[in-house]
């Protein structure tokens, strides 16, 4: 059944541009971007047991670096992308050193504080970031000379990047390093006694998550052609975290489902209700009550239950 579901998903992802209108194609692109972001956060939250409330930092900083380099300093998209990802990854390495002095709630508070600093900077350093006005008038890159300005072409671009990101993160969590990471999440003391360096394992994961957070930030700014300090805000970090938890942290499908859910609610509900955040809250409350481990683990448990019942 899992195979059928995956096959259906792959087919619909491929066929989507041929039957859906631009609105839906764009929505799908946004979901892909949010999925990469949620997957990268899930490396920390689900597989590393490090609940971060500042992951938007990596999305936002990558987006800002690319926006500034291309719009203000005349960089091409290629070098700008490389510098932006390298810069974001380096920042993750630095933030990791600070945040990993603590675990649990302390870690969460430090990540929150660090992201608040960046958000404040984006707002206040208006001579650089253009403050509350954001940076507008950005362009999309043209990989191999192909324009990404149409909804469908950008969708294909996002799909390729997202598939690659998914694959890389799937390999990461099933690798021996992934096993080390999950071990450190569950029994750090035992892992240290077995010869694993828990701090180093967490730090490397933090950097890797920052890297993919940066990749999603690049796509984000390419898609929107605009960047505003809200992208760095706690709300964007919290939305992604809610998506990861609702979808099922520590699973590969969970963050994707969760990210899709958040975006769909945002897009549909906000058309009808002004206080769509309230609806989002209620939906999450419902999910947590019915399926405490998230949608994907909850549904797969339901499926195994049904299969056993029908036997």
């Amino acid at each position: 059944m899992k195979w059928i579901a995956s096959a259906l998903l792959v087919i619909s992802l491929f066929l989507l541009p041929s039957f859906a209108g631009d609105f839906y194609i764009n929505l799908a692109s946004q979901i892909l971007i949010a999925a990469i972001f949620a997957l990268s956060l899930n490396l920390l939250v689900g597989y590393g047991g490090m609940t971060s409330l500042g992951h938007a930092s990596y999305l936002g900083v990558a987006a800002y670096i690319s926006a500034l380099l291309t719009s203000r300093y005349g960089f091409g998209h290629g070098p700008a992308a490389v510098i932006s990802i390298a810069g974001t990854t380096a920042m993750a390495a630095f933030f990791g050193v600070i945040a990993l002095r603590a675990t649990g709630l302390g870690f969460l508070m430090i990540t929150l504080a660090l992201s608040q600093v960046l958000w404040g900077l984006a707002y206040r350093m208006s001579n650089v970031t253009n403050g509350d006005n954001g940076i507008a008038g950005l362009t999309r890159p043209m990989p191999f000379g192909i324009s990404l300005d149409s909804a469908a072409s950008f969708y294909w671009f996002a799909l390729v990047v997202a598939s690659f990101a998914y694959l890389m993160m799937a390999i990461f969590v099933s690798s021996s390093f992934g096993s080390s990471l999950k071990g450190v999440r569950d029994q750090p003391r035992r892992m240290a006694a077995l010869g694993f360096n828990p701090w180093m394992i967490r730090w490397i994961t933090f950097i890797y998550a920052g890297f993919w957070g940066g990749v999603s930030g690049l796509l984000y700014v390419y898609y929107n052609k605009y960047i505003h300090p809200t992208s760095l805000s706690t709300t964007s970090s919290a939305e992604a975290l809610l998506g990861v938890i609702a979808g099922g942290s520590g699973t590969l499908g969970g963050p994707v489902v969760g990210a899709a859910l958040v975006l769909l609610l945002k897009n549909y509900a906000s058309a009808y209700i002004e206080r769509w955040n309230m609806l989002l809250g209620l939906v999450f409350l419902f999910i947590v009550l019915v399926m405490p481990t998230g949608i994907v683990p909850g549904l797969s448990r339901l499926a195994t239950g049904l299969r056993r019942g029908s036997r």
């Binding site: 390999i171 990461f172 099933s174 690798s175 021996s176 390093f177 992934g178 096993s179 080390s180 071990g183 569950d186 029994q187 003391r189 035992r190 892992m191 240290a192 006694a193 077995l194 010869g195 694993f196 360096n197 828990p198 890797y208």
Partner: protein, 251 residues
């Protein structure tokens, strides 16, 4: 002839540890030769587990030194000590309960291999890890449960997984913290013969309350009380000692 410093597998020199005003290890010195079987006994609160935690690096002493094969490891992190050939088990079972027995033992193997850092290949790529994990599980008599999660198996079996994880590392020094705790008579004799079969390349230091079983396994015994070594020496001499009777055997 007096042995050289490096003639000892493990040396503990004037170790002191206090939690606030409570002195748990007052002044402990031990010297254990390679291959030795040492039993550490003492009433509850004597500082036995605290001593183990400092040897393994989970806790730092206030003062004193710990040496493994002549190297001062007092400031080393637990994982560095593991790479020096030190393994331990826990009094309170500390396993990965959602994972299979095979995966638990595999983690023990992985901890000492450079491939623990490998991110681009699935763990299953390393077939030799699984083979070795199965061999170790077979040695502790749990091969038939290899694919079961730890949460499925009985308490006595979990004790053996604890042991298997440590043995998989082929340690030079093995610390066993109450390996018989909570076991039935049959299980106890299984674990006892398991411990007896540990090769001589491994120095075994064991905390155990079950004297009937543990004394058979020991060659030398250290009696701790109130964070001090009361008696230390050959098994029979320690048992016969007046102070042992006073402190521990309660006669």
């Amino acid at each position: 002839m007096t042995p050289l410093m490096s003639d000892y597998a493990l040396e503990v020199i004037n170790l002191k540890k206090a939690f606030g005003g409570l002195s748990v290890i007052q002044d402990v010195s031990l010297a254990i030769r390679p291959g030795e079987r040492r039993l550490i006994i003492g009433p509850n609160g004597a500082g036995k587990t605290t001593l183990f935690n400092q040897i393994s690096g989970d806790m730092r002493p206030n003062s004193g030194q710990i040496k493994l094969f002549g190297t001062d490891v007092t400031q080393f992190a637990p994982y560095t000590r593991a790479h020096f050939g030190l393994s331990r088990t826990y009094q309170i079972i500390t396993l990965f309960s959602d994972d299979t027995l095979e995966h638990n033992v595999t983690l023990g193997l992985l901890g000492l291999r450079p491939s623990r850092w490998q991110m681009w290949r699935p763990l299953s790529f390393y077939g030799d890890l699984a083979t070795e994990a199965h061999r170790v599980l077979d040695a502790v008599g749990l091969l038939h449960l290899a694919e079961h999660p730890v949460s499925d198996i009985a308490y006595g079996e979990r004790r053996r997984v604890e042991l298997a994880m440590a043995l998989a590392q082929k340690p030079r020094v093995l610390l066993l913290d109450e390996p018989l705790a909570g076991l039935s008579n049959t299980e106890r004799s299984t674990v006892k013969s398991l411990i007896a079969s540990i090769p001589r390349q491994t120095t075994v230091i064991m905390i155990e309350h079950d004297m009937d079983t543990a004394l058979d396994l020991a060659e030398t015994v250290t009696l701790l009380n109130y964070g001090r070594v009361i008696v230390d020496g050959d098994r029979d001499a320690v048992i016969a000692d007046e102070r042992t009777r006073e402190v521990y055997l309660g006669v």
